[in-house]
Symmetry: C2
DNA sequence: ACAGTATTTATCCAACGGGTTAATTAATAC
DNA sequence: GTATTAATTAACCCGTTGGATAAATACTGT
Protein backbone atom coordinates (compact mmCIF):
# COMPACT_ATOMS: atom_id res chain seq x y z
CA UNK A 1 0.00 0.00 0.00
CA UNK A 2 1.15 3.49 0.95
CA UNK A 3 -0.03 5.77 -1.78
CA UNK A 4 2.78 8.28 -2.16
CA UNK A 5 1.31 10.34 -4.91
CA UNK A 6 3.98 12.90 -4.07
CA UNK A 7 7.23 11.68 -5.46
CA UNK A 8 9.84 11.30 -2.78
CA UNK A 9 13.24 11.00 -4.25
CA UNK A 10 14.82 9.28 -1.31
CA UNK A 11 14.73 5.57 -1.85
CA UNK A 12 14.39 4.99 1.85
CA UNK A 13 11.11 6.82 2.19
CA UNK A 14 9.60 5.49 -1.00
CA UNK A 15 9.74 1.97 0.20
CA UNK A 16 6.51 0.34 1.13
CA UNK A 17 5.88 -1.31 4.46
CA UNK A 18 4.47 -4.68 5.28
CA UNK A 19 1.18 -5.05 7.08
CA UNK A 20 -0.50 -8.37 6.35
CA UNK A 21 -3.32 -8.14 8.89
CA UNK A 22 -4.07 -4.53 8.08
CA UNK A 23 -4.00 -5.28 4.41
CA UNK A 24 -6.39 -8.16 4.82
CA UNK A 25 -8.78 -5.98 6.77
CA UNK A 26 -8.63 -3.19 4.23
CA UNK A 27 -9.27 -5.67 1.46
CA UNK A 28 -12.29 -7.13 3.20
CA UNK A 29 -13.68 -3.70 3.98
CA UNK A 30 -13.21 -2.56 0.40
CA UNK A 31 -14.77 -5.78 -0.85
CA UNK A 32 -17.74 -5.30 1.42
CA UNK A 33 -18.36 -1.86 0.01
CA UNK A 34 -17.95 -3.07 -3.52
CA UNK A 35 -20.16 -6.16 -3.26
CA UNK A 36 -22.79 -4.21 -1.37
CA UNK A 37 -22.84 -1.49 -3.98
CA UNK A 38 -22.73 -3.63 -7.10
CA UNK A 39 -23.62 -7.21 -6.27
CA UNK A 40 -21.45 -10.15 -7.19
CA UNK A 41 -21.45 -9.80 -10.96
CA UNK A 42 -21.25 -6.02 -10.81
CA UNK A 43 -18.35 -5.96 -8.40
CA UNK A 44 -14.95 -5.26 -9.93
CA UNK A 45 -11.85 -6.86 -8.57
CA UNK A 46 -9.73 -3.93 -9.68
CA UNK A 47 -11.95 -1.48 -7.88
CA UNK A 48 -11.67 -3.48 -4.69
CA UNK A 49 -7.90 -3.42 -4.98
CA UNK A 50 -7.88 0.31 -5.64
CA UNK A 51 -10.23 1.02 -2.75
CA UNK A 52 -8.06 -1.09 -0.45
CA UNK A 53 -5.00 0.80 -1.56
CA UNK A 54 -3.57 -2.49 -2.72
CA UNK A 55 -2.35 -4.27 -5.73
CA UNK A 56 -4.82 -6.66 -7.31
CA UNK A 57 -2.54 -9.57 -6.62
CA UNK A 58 -3.01 -8.95 -2.91
CA UNK A 59 -6.64 -10.00 -3.04
CA UNK A 60 -5.70 -13.41 -4.29
CA UNK A 61 -2.78 -13.65 -1.93
CA UNK A 62 -4.64 -12.72 1.24
CA UNK A 63 -8.15 -13.95 0.63
CA UNK A 64 -8.76 -15.67 -2.64
CA UNK A 65 -10.59 -15.22 -5.88
CA UNK A 66 -13.73 -13.21 -6.35
CA UNK A 67 -16.00 -15.95 -5.08
CA UNK A 68 -13.98 -16.51 -1.98
CA UNK A 69 -13.71 -12.79 -1.39
CA UNK A 70 -17.46 -12.52 -1.49
CA UNK A 71 -17.97 -15.42 0.86
CA UNK A 72 -15.49 -13.97 3.33
CA UNK A 73 -17.38 -10.68 3.25
CA UNK A 74 -20.70 -12.42 3.76
CA UNK A 75 -19.42 -14.41 6.69
CA UNK A 76 -17.95 -11.30 8.22
CA UNK A 77 -21.27 -9.53 7.93
CA UNK A 78 -23.15 -12.30 9.70
CA UNK A 79 -20.47 -12.54 12.33
CA UNK A 80 -20.75 -8.85 13.06
CA UNK A 81 -24.49 -8.75 13.50
CA UNK A 82 -24.49 -11.89 15.62
CA UNK A 83 -21.97 -10.32 17.97
CA UNK A 84 -24.08 -7.22 18.39
CA UNK A 85 -27.25 -9.22 18.77
CA UNK A 86 -25.72 -11.14 21.62
CA UNK A 87 -24.90 -7.91 23.42
CA UNK A 88 -28.58 -7.06 23.59
CA UNK A 89 -30.09 -7.91 26.93
CA UNK A 90 -33.84 -8.27 27.02
CA UNK A 91 -34.13 -10.41 30.11
CA UNK A 92 -34.52 -7.70 32.67
CA UNK A 93 -37.01 -5.58 30.74
CA UNK A 94 -40.74 -6.00 31.00
CA UNK A 95 -42.08 -7.69 27.88
CA UNK A 96 -43.46 -4.70 25.96
CA UNK A 97 -40.28 -2.72 26.56
CA UNK A 98 -38.24 -5.72 25.52
CA UNK A 99 -40.04 -6.00 22.20
CA UNK A 100 -39.75 -2.27 21.62
CA UNK A 101 -36.07 -2.47 22.28
CA UNK A 102 -35.70 -5.39 19.92
CA UNK A 103 -37.35 -3.42 17.16
CA UNK A 104 -35.29 -0.38 17.93
CA UNK A 105 -32.08 -2.36 17.80
CA UNK A 106 -32.94 -4.06 14.52
CA UNK A 107 -33.95 -0.77 12.97
CA UNK A 108 -30.82 1.05 14.02
CA UNK A 109 -28.51 -1.79 13.15
CA UNK A 110 -29.88 -1.77 9.62
CA UNK A 111 -29.51 1.97 9.42
CA UNK A 112 -25.94 1.81 10.65
CA UNK A 113 -25.07 -1.06 8.31
CA UNK A 114 -26.69 -0.53 4.95
CA UNK A 115 -24.16 -2.87 3.33
CA UNK A 116 -25.60 -5.69 5.38
CA UNK A 117 -28.98 -5.22 3.73
CA UNK A 118 -27.43 -5.08 0.30
CA UNK A 119 -25.39 -8.19 0.93
CA UNK A 120 -28.43 -10.12 2.04
CA UNK A 121 -30.27 -9.07 -1.07
CA UNK A 122 -27.35 -10.10 -3.20
CA UNK A 123 -27.13 -13.44 -1.47
CA UNK A 124 -30.82 -14.04 -1.94
CA UNK A 125 -30.57 -13.26 -5.62
CA UNK A 126 -27.95 -15.98 -5.69
CA UNK A 127 -30.49 -18.20 -3.95
CA UNK A 128 -28.20 -18.48 -0.95
CA UNK A 129 -25.69 -20.50 -2.90
CA UNK A 130 -22.79 -19.21 -0.84
CA UNK A 131 -24.56 -19.31 2.48
CA UNK A 132 -25.36 -22.97 1.96
CA UNK A 133 -21.69 -23.62 1.40
CA UNK A 134 -20.69 -21.83 4.59
CA UNK A 135 -20.65 -24.05 7.67
CA UNK A 136 -19.37 -21.01 9.52
CA UNK A 137 -22.54 -18.97 9.08
CA UNK A 138 -24.82 -21.93 9.59
CA UNK A 139 -23.27 -22.47 12.99
CA UNK A 140 -23.88 -18.87 14.06
CA UNK A 141 -27.42 -18.95 15.32
CA UNK A 142 -29.17 -15.72 16.11
CA UNK A 143 -29.97 -15.45 19.79
CA UNK A 144 -33.07 -13.48 18.93
CA UNK A 145 -35.40 -16.40 18.37
CA UNK A 146 -34.66 -17.71 21.82
CA UNK A 147 -34.88 -14.22 23.34
CA UNK A 148 -38.22 -13.59 21.70
CA UNK A 149 -39.48 -16.94 22.80
CA UNK A 150 -38.82 -16.25 26.47
CA UNK A 151 -40.04 -12.67 26.28
CA UNK A 152 -43.31 -13.75 24.70
CA UNK A 153 -43.71 -16.49 27.30
CA UNK A 154 -43.14 -13.99 30.08
CA UNK A 155 -45.51 -11.52 28.46
CA UNK A 156 -48.30 -14.04 28.23
CA UNK A 157 -47.82 -15.11 31.81
CA UNK A 158 -47.79 -11.57 33.12
CA UNK A 159 -50.85 -10.74 31.12
CA UNK A 160 -49.06 -8.05 29.14
CA UNK A 161 -49.49 -10.03 25.94
CA UNK A 162 -52.81 -11.41 24.87
CA UNK A 163 -51.49 -13.69 22.16
CA UNK A 164 -49.01 -16.49 21.98
CA UNK A 165 -47.17 -15.72 18.78
CA UNK A 166 -44.69 -18.04 17.11
CA UNK A 167 -41.28 -16.50 17.87
CA UNK A 168 -39.87 -17.25 14.45
CA UNK A 169 -42.77 -15.58 12.72
CA UNK A 170 -42.44 -12.58 14.99
CA UNK A 171 -38.71 -12.42 14.41
CA UNK A 172 -39.22 -12.47 10.67
CA UNK A 173 -41.97 -9.89 10.89
CA UNK A 174 -39.89 -7.45 12.86
CA UNK A 175 -36.97 -7.89 10.52
CA UNK A 176 -39.34 -7.50 7.59
CA UNK A 177 -40.81 -4.22 8.78
CA UNK A 178 -37.36 -2.71 9.22
CA UNK A 179 -35.60 -4.35 6.31
CA UNK A 180 -38.08 -3.69 3.56
CA UNK A 181 -38.49 -0.04 4.37
CA UNK A 182 -34.77 0.62 4.27
CA UNK A 183 -33.79 -1.79 1.55
CA UNK A 184 -36.49 -0.49 -0.76
CA UNK A 185 -36.36 3.12 0.27
CA UNK A 186 -34.97 4.16 -3.10
CA UNK A 187 -37.91 2.91 -5.15
CA UNK A 188 -40.46 3.74 -2.48
CA UNK A 189 -39.18 7.28 -2.29
CA UNK A 190 -39.65 7.68 -6.02
CA UNK A 191 -43.11 6.14 -5.95
CA UNK A 192 -44.33 8.26 -3.07
CA UNK A 193 -42.43 11.31 -4.18
CA UNK A 194 -40.82 12.00 -0.86
CA UNK A 195 -37.65 11.19 0.98
CA UNK A 196 -38.25 8.22 3.24
CA UNK A 197 -34.78 8.46 4.73
CA UNK A 198 -35.12 11.93 6.20
CA UNK A 199 -34.73 12.09 9.94
CA UNK A 200 -38.42 12.77 10.43
CA UNK A 201 -39.52 9.99 8.14
CA UNK A 202 -37.29 7.51 9.93
CA UNK A 203 -38.55 8.51 13.33
CA UNK A 204 -42.09 8.21 12.14
CA UNK A 205 -41.40 4.78 10.75
CA UNK A 206 -39.84 3.48 13.94
CA UNK A 207 -42.79 4.71 15.90
CA UNK A 208 -45.22 3.07 13.54
CA UNK A 209 -43.46 -0.29 13.69
CA UNK A 210 -43.28 -0.38 17.45
CA UNK A 211 -46.89 0.70 17.77
CA UNK A 212 -48.03 -1.88 15.25
CA UNK A 213 -46.29 -4.82 16.85
CA UNK A 214 -47.07 -3.84 20.42
CA UNK A 215 -50.69 -3.19 19.59
CA UNK A 216 -50.94 -6.65 18.13
CA UNK A 217 -49.26 -8.26 21.09
CA UNK A 218 -50.84 -6.33 23.93
CA UNK A 219 -54.24 -5.62 22.50
CA UNK A 220 -53.89 -2.11 23.89
CA UNK A 221 -53.14 0.22 21.04
CA UNK A 222 -52.11 3.80 21.54
CA UNK A 223 -55.04 5.67 20.04
CA UNK A 224 -53.44 7.00 16.91
CA UNK A 225 -50.29 5.40 15.62
CA UNK A 226 -47.94 6.19 12.83
CA UNK A 227 -49.36 9.61 12.16
CA UNK A 228 -48.39 12.22 14.71
CA UNK A 229 -44.90 12.80 15.93
CA UNK A 230 -44.64 12.16 19.61
CA UNK A 231 -41.48 12.96 21.53
CA UNK A 232 -38.82 10.52 20.43
CA UNK A 233 -39.01 7.38 22.49
CA UNK A 234 -35.44 6.37 21.66
CA UNK A 235 -35.23 3.02 23.31
CA UNK A 236 -31.56 2.78 24.05
CA UNK A 237 -29.98 3.06 20.67
CA UNK A 238 -26.82 1.07 20.39
CA UNK A 239 -23.39 2.57 20.88
CA UNK A 240 -21.78 3.61 17.61
CA UNK A 241 -23.67 5.50 14.98
CA UNK A 242 -21.19 4.55 12.26
CA UNK B 1 -36.99 -17.14 -34.35
CA UNK B 2 -38.41 -20.56 -35.17
CA UNK B 3 -35.97 -23.00 -33.74
CA UNK B 4 -35.93 -25.84 -36.21
CA UNK B 5 -33.37 -28.01 -34.55
CA UNK B 6 -34.51 -30.76 -36.89
CA UNK B 7 -33.07 -30.10 -40.27
CA UNK B 8 -35.75 -29.67 -42.85
CA UNK B 9 -34.36 -30.00 -46.31
CA UNK B 10 -37.10 -28.11 -48.06
CA UNK B 11 -36.12 -24.54 -48.46
CA UNK B 12 -39.69 -23.44 -48.01
CA UNK B 13 -39.99 -24.80 -44.49
CA UNK B 14 -36.55 -23.74 -43.37
CA UNK B 15 -37.29 -20.12 -43.95
CA UNK B 16 -37.99 -17.98 -40.96
CA UNK B 17 -41.15 -15.97 -40.57
CA UNK B 18 -41.67 -12.43 -39.48
CA UNK B 19 -43.38 -11.61 -36.22
CA UNK B 20 -42.34 -8.24 -34.85
CA UNK B 21 -44.86 -8.03 -32.01
CA UNK B 22 -44.37 -11.62 -30.96
CA UNK B 23 -40.65 -11.20 -31.13
CA UNK B 24 -40.75 -8.12 -28.98
CA UNK B 25 -42.84 -9.88 -26.38
CA UNK B 26 -40.58 -12.91 -26.32
CA UNK B 27 -37.58 -10.66 -25.92
CA UNK B 28 -39.13 -8.78 -23.02
CA UNK B 29 -40.19 -11.98 -21.32
CA UNK B 30 -36.74 -13.48 -21.72
CA UNK B 31 -35.17 -10.27 -20.48
CA UNK B 32 -37.43 -10.26 -17.46
CA UNK B 33 -36.32 -13.75 -16.53
CA UNK B 34 -32.69 -12.90 -17.09
CA UNK B 35 -32.64 -9.62 -15.18
CA UNK B 36 -34.65 -11.13 -12.35
CA UNK B 37 -32.29 -14.06 -12.08
CA UNK B 38 -28.99 -12.22 -12.41
CA UNK B 39 -29.48 -8.52 -11.88
CA UNK B 40 -28.35 -5.88 -14.32
CA UNK B 41 -24.64 -6.57 -14.33
CA UNK B 42 -25.12 -10.31 -14.16
CA UNK B 43 -27.58 -10.45 -17.03
CA UNK B 44 -26.17 -11.62 -20.34
CA UNK B 45 -27.43 -10.18 -23.56
CA UNK B 46 -26.62 -13.36 -25.41
CA UNK B 47 -28.61 -15.45 -22.98
CA UNK B 48 -31.61 -13.18 -23.40
CA UNK B 49 -31.37 -13.60 -27.15
CA UNK B 50 -31.06 -17.35 -26.85
CA UNK B 51 -33.98 -17.59 -24.42
CA UNK B 52 -36.10 -15.48 -26.73
CA UNK B 53 -35.19 -17.71 -29.64
CA UNK B 54 -33.77 -14.67 -31.33
CA UNK B 55 -30.60 -13.26 -32.70
CA UNK B 56 -28.76 -10.85 -30.48
CA UNK B 57 -29.21 -8.11 -33.00
CA UNK B 58 -32.97 -8.34 -32.51
CA UNK B 59 -32.76 -7.00 -28.98
CA UNK B 60 -31.25 -3.79 -30.23
CA UNK B 61 -33.60 -3.62 -33.16
CA UNK B 62 -36.81 -4.09 -31.19
CA UNK B 63 -36.03 -2.61 -27.81
CA UNK B 64 -32.62 -1.12 -27.38
CA UNK B 65 -29.43 -1.72 -25.55
CA UNK B 66 -29.06 -3.50 -22.25
CA UNK B 67 -30.05 -0.45 -20.22
CA UNK B 68 -33.12 0.20 -22.26
CA UNK B 69 -34.04 -3.45 -22.19
CA UNK B 70 -33.90 -3.39 -18.44
CA UNK B 71 -35.97 -0.25 -18.17
CA UNK B 72 -38.62 -1.70 -20.47
CA UNK B 73 -38.79 -4.78 -18.28
CA UNK B 74 -39.08 -2.71 -15.14
CA UNK B 75 -41.84 -0.58 -16.57
CA UNK B 76 -43.68 -3.66 -17.72
CA UNK B 77 -43.46 -5.14 -14.25
CA UNK B 78 -44.94 -2.05 -12.62
CA UNK B 79 -47.60 -1.81 -15.26
CA UNK B 80 -48.64 -5.37 -14.62
CA UNK B 81 -49.02 -5.07 -10.87
CA UNK B 82 -50.84 -1.77 -11.15
CA UNK B 83 -53.39 -3.34 -13.46
CA UNK B 84 -54.04 -6.18 -11.07
CA UNK B 85 -54.16 -3.85 -8.11
CA UNK B 86 -56.87 -1.84 -9.77
CA UNK B 87 -58.95 -4.96 -10.25
CA UNK B 88 -59.12 -5.43 -6.48
CA UNK B 89 -62.33 -4.16 -5.01
CA UNK B 90 -62.29 -3.43 -1.30
CA UNK B 91 -65.16 -1.00 -1.17
CA UNK B 92 -67.96 -3.40 -0.48
CA UNK B 93 -66.14 -5.45 2.16
CA UNK B 94 -66.29 -4.68 5.83
CA UNK B 95 -62.98 -3.16 6.95
CA UNK B 96 -61.31 -6.17 8.59
CA UNK B 97 -62.18 -8.36 5.64
CA UNK B 98 -60.91 -5.68 3.29
CA UNK B 99 -57.54 -5.55 5.01
CA UNK B 100 -57.33 -9.33 5.06
CA UNK B 101 -58.05 -9.41 1.38
CA UNK B 102 -55.44 -6.77 0.69
CA UNK B 103 -52.81 -8.82 2.49
CA UNK B 104 -53.93 -11.95 0.74
CA UNK B 105 -53.70 -10.30 -2.65
CA UNK B 106 -50.26 -8.84 -2.01
CA UNK B 107 -48.98 -12.15 -0.72
CA UNK B 108 -50.27 -14.15 -3.65
CA UNK B 109 -49.21 -11.63 -6.23
CA UNK B 110 -45.66 -11.84 -4.92
CA UNK B 111 -45.80 -15.63 -4.93
CA UNK B 112 -47.10 -15.68 -8.47
CA UNK B 113 -44.54 -13.12 -9.65
CA UNK B 114 -41.20 -13.81 -8.04
CA UNK B 115 -39.43 -11.89 -10.79
CA UNK B 116 -41.18 -8.76 -9.60
CA UNK B 117 -39.51 -9.06 -6.23
CA UNK B 118 -36.14 -9.67 -7.79
CA UNK B 119 -36.52 -6.71 -10.11
CA UNK B 120 -37.40 -4.42 -7.25
CA UNK B 121 -34.34 -5.57 -5.36
CA UNK B 122 -32.20 -5.02 -8.39
CA UNK B 123 -33.63 -1.58 -8.89
CA UNK B 124 -33.01 -0.67 -5.29
CA UNK B 125 -29.43 -1.82 -5.53
CA UNK B 126 -29.18 0.63 -8.39
CA UNK B 127 -30.64 3.23 -6.04
CA UNK B 128 -33.67 3.58 -8.30
CA UNK B 129 -31.60 5.18 -11.02
CA UNK B 130 -33.85 3.81 -13.73
CA UNK B 131 -37.11 4.42 -11.95
CA UNK B 132 -36.22 8.05 -11.52
CA UNK B 133 -35.69 8.29 -15.24
CA UNK B 134 -39.06 6.71 -16.01
CA UNK B 135 -41.92 9.18 -16.22
CA UNK B 136 -44.05 6.23 -17.18
CA UNK B 137 -43.74 4.46 -13.86
CA UNK B 138 -43.93 7.64 -11.86
CA UNK B 139 -47.29 8.36 -13.41
CA UNK B 140 -48.68 4.96 -12.45
CA UNK B 141 -49.82 5.48 -8.89
CA UNK B 142 -50.86 2.52 -6.84
CA UNK B 143 -54.54 2.66 -5.96
CA UNK B 144 -53.77 0.91 -2.71
CA UNK B 145 -52.89 3.95 -0.67
CA UNK B 146 -56.23 5.53 -1.47
CA UNK B 147 -58.05 2.24 -0.91
CA UNK B 148 -56.40 1.75 2.46
CA UNK B 149 -57.16 5.30 3.40
CA UNK B 150 -60.90 4.90 2.89
CA UNK B 151 -61.00 1.45 4.42
CA UNK B 152 -59.25 2.68 7.55
CA UNK B 153 -61.56 5.65 7.73
CA UNK B 154 -64.59 3.38 7.46
CA UNK B 155 -63.13 1.01 10.02
CA UNK B 156 -62.59 3.75 12.54
CA UNK B 157 -66.10 5.10 12.02
CA UNK B 158 -67.72 1.70 12.34
CA UNK B 159 -65.71 0.99 15.46
CA UNK B 160 -64.04 -2.04 13.88
CA UNK B 161 -60.68 -0.33 14.09
CA UNK B 162 -59.39 1.23 17.24
CA UNK B 163 -56.51 3.10 15.66
CA UNK B 164 -56.13 5.64 12.94
CA UNK B 165 -53.08 4.41 11.13
CA UNK B 166 -51.26 6.33 8.43
CA UNK B 167 -52.26 4.58 5.19
CA UNK B 168 -48.82 4.86 3.66
CA UNK B 169 -47.18 3.32 6.68
CA UNK B 170 -49.71 0.52 6.67
CA UNK B 171 -49.24 -0.02 2.95
CA UNK B 172 -45.50 -0.29 3.40
CA UNK B 173 -45.88 -2.57 6.39
CA UNK B 174 -48.13 -4.99 4.57
CA UNK B 175 -45.83 -5.05 1.59
CA UNK B 176 -42.89 -5.48 3.93
CA UNK B 177 -44.33 -8.48 5.73
CA UNK B 178 -44.98 -10.25 2.45
CA UNK B 179 -41.99 -9.07 0.48
CA UNK B 180 -39.24 -9.76 2.97
CA UNK B 181 -40.37 -13.27 3.73
CA UNK B 182 -40.45 -14.27 0.09
CA UNK B 183 -37.53 -12.22 -1.16
CA UNK B 184 -35.27 -13.48 1.62
CA UNK B 185 -36.64 -16.98 1.83
CA UNK B 186 -33.41 -18.46 0.51
CA UNK B 187 -31.19 -17.13 3.27
CA UNK B 188 -33.86 -17.47 5.94
CA UNK B 189 -34.41 -21.08 4.98
CA UNK B 190 -30.72 -21.78 5.44
CA UNK B 191 -30.56 -19.94 8.74
CA UNK B 192 -33.60 -21.65 10.20
CA UNK B 193 -32.83 -24.96 8.59
CA UNK B 194 -36.22 -25.48 7.08
CA UNK B 195 -38.07 -24.79 3.89
CA UNK B 196 -40.01 -21.58 4.24
CA UNK B 197 -41.60 -22.00 0.85
CA UNK B 198 -43.37 -25.26 1.53
CA UNK B 199 -47.13 -25.12 1.23
CA UNK B 200 -47.58 -25.40 4.96
CA UNK B 201 -45.02 -22.75 5.75
CA UNK B 202 -46.62 -20.33 3.32
CA UNK B 203 -50.09 -20.89 4.73
CA UNK B 204 -48.78 -20.38 8.21
CA UNK B 205 -47.10 -17.17 7.19
CA UNK B 206 -50.19 -15.74 5.56
CA UNK B 207 -52.19 -16.50 8.64
CA UNK B 208 -49.63 -14.87 10.87
CA UNK B 209 -49.50 -11.69 8.82
CA UNK B 210 -53.25 -11.28 8.68
CA UNK B 211 -53.58 -11.97 12.38
CA UNK B 212 -50.81 -9.55 13.23
CA UNK B 213 -52.18 -6.65 11.25
CA UNK B 214 -55.80 -7.21 12.18
CA UNK B 215 -54.95 -7.61 15.83
CA UNK B 216 -53.15 -4.28 15.74
CA UNK B 217 -56.02 -2.56 13.95
CA UNK B 218 -59.00 -4.05 15.75
CA UNK B 219 -57.53 -4.57 19.20
CA UNK B 220 -59.23 -7.96 19.20
CA UNK B 221 -56.63 -10.62 18.61
CA UNK B 222 -57.49 -14.20 17.94
CA UNK B 223 -56.10 -15.94 21.01
CA UNK B 224 -53.15 -17.71 19.46
CA UNK B 225 -51.79 -16.53 16.18
CA UNK B 226 -49.14 -17.77 13.87
CA UNK B 227 -48.69 -21.09 15.59
CA UNK B 228 -51.46 -23.55 14.92
CA UNK B 229 -52.85 -24.33 11.53
CA UNK B 230 -56.46 -23.39 11.30
CA UNK B 231 -58.53 -24.30 8.27
CA UNK B 232 -57.29 -22.22 5.39
CA UNK B 233 -59.02 -18.92 5.32
CA UNK B 234 -58.17 -18.29 1.71
CA UNK B 235 -59.52 -14.83 1.22
CA UNK B 236 -60.34 -14.89 -2.43
CA UNK B 237 -57.04 -15.68 -4.03
CA UNK B 238 -56.64 -14.07 -7.36
CA UNK B 239 -57.24 -15.93 -10.59
CA UNK B 240 -54.07 -17.54 -11.88
CA UNK B 241 -51.70 -19.36 -9.62
CA UNK B 242 -48.68 -18.71 -11.81
C1' DA C 1 25.84 -9.22 6.89
C1' DC C 2 23.42 -12.70 4.71
C1' DA C 3 20.11 -16.33 3.52
C1' DG C 4 15.50 -17.43 3.33
C1' DT C 5 10.82 -16.34 3.45
C1' DA C 6 6.70 -13.38 3.42
C1' DT C 7 4.69 -9.71 1.27
C1' DT C 8 4.06 -6.54 -2.50
C1' DT C 9 4.70 -4.67 -7.27
C1' DA C 10 4.64 -4.77 -12.22
C1' DT C 11 2.99 -6.93 -16.49
C1' DC C 12 0.54 -9.87 -19.20
C1' DC C 13 -3.23 -12.44 -21.50
C1' DA C 14 -7.00 -15.16 -22.96
C1' DA C 15 -11.89 -15.22 -22.56
C1' DC C 16 -15.83 -12.74 -22.34
C1' DG C 17 -19.45 -9.62 -23.49
C1' DG C 18 -21.76 -5.58 -25.25
C1' DG C 19 -22.49 -3.47 -29.24
C1' DT C 20 -21.96 -2.62 -34.39
C1' DT C 21 -21.75 -3.42 -39.43
C1' DA C 22 -23.01 -5.57 -43.46
C1' DA C 23 -25.31 -8.93 -45.93
C1' DT C 24 -29.92 -11.81 -46.51
C1' DT C 25 -34.42 -12.79 -46.68
C1' DA C 26 -39.50 -12.10 -46.05
C1' DA C 27 -43.46 -9.20 -46.58
C1' DT C 28 -45.67 -5.30 -49.10
C1' DA C 29 -46.80 -2.08 -52.61
C1' DC C 30 -47.10 -1.04 -57.32
C1' DG D 1 -43.15 -9.74 -61.46
C1' DT D 2 -40.36 -6.25 -59.52
C1' DA D 3 -38.89 -2.57 -56.51
C1' DT D 4 -39.04 -1.13 -51.69
C1' DT D 5 -39.15 -1.64 -47.05
C1' DA D 6 -39.10 -4.31 -42.73
C1' DA D 7 -37.30 -7.98 -40.19
C1' DT D 8 -33.67 -11.24 -39.38
C1' DT D 9 -29.15 -13.50 -39.73
C1' DA D 10 -24.21 -13.86 -39.57
C1' DA D 11 -19.79 -12.20 -38.53
C1' DC D 12 -16.83 -9.20 -36.44
C1' DC D 13 -14.79 -5.57 -33.30
C1' DC D 14 -12.62 -4.06 -29.29
C1' DG D 15 -12.58 -2.61 -24.51
C1' DT D 16 -13.05 -4.98 -20.15
C1' DT D 17 -12.00 -8.17 -16.58
C1' DG D 18 -10.71 -12.02 -13.85
C1' DG D 19 -6.91 -14.34 -13.04
C1' DA D 20 -1.91 -15.78 -13.59
C1' DT D 21 3.27 -15.31 -13.81
C1' DA D 22 7.45 -13.50 -12.66
C1' DA D 23 10.23 -10.21 -10.56
C1' DA D 24 11.23 -7.10 -6.74
C1' DT D 25 11.42 -5.68 -2.08
C1' DA D 26 10.83 -5.85 2.97
C1' DC D 27 11.24 -8.43 7.01
C1' DT D 28 13.24 -12.35 10.19
C1' DG D 29 16.43 -15.17 12.27
C1' DT D 30 21.12 -16.38 12.64
Amino acid sequence: MIGFSILAKTKRILKWQRDPEGMRLRILEAAKQEFAAHGIAGARVDRIAAKAGANKRMLYYHVGKKDELYLAVLEGAYEKIRVEERSLDLEHLDPPKAIARLIDFTWNYFIRNPEFLALLNTENMARARYLKRSTKVKSMHSPFVEMISTVVKRGVESGDFVVNVDPIQLYISIAALCFFYLSNSATLSVIFGRDLLSEDARDERLEHMIALVLAALTGKSMAVFGKQKAPKLRVAAHSGVG
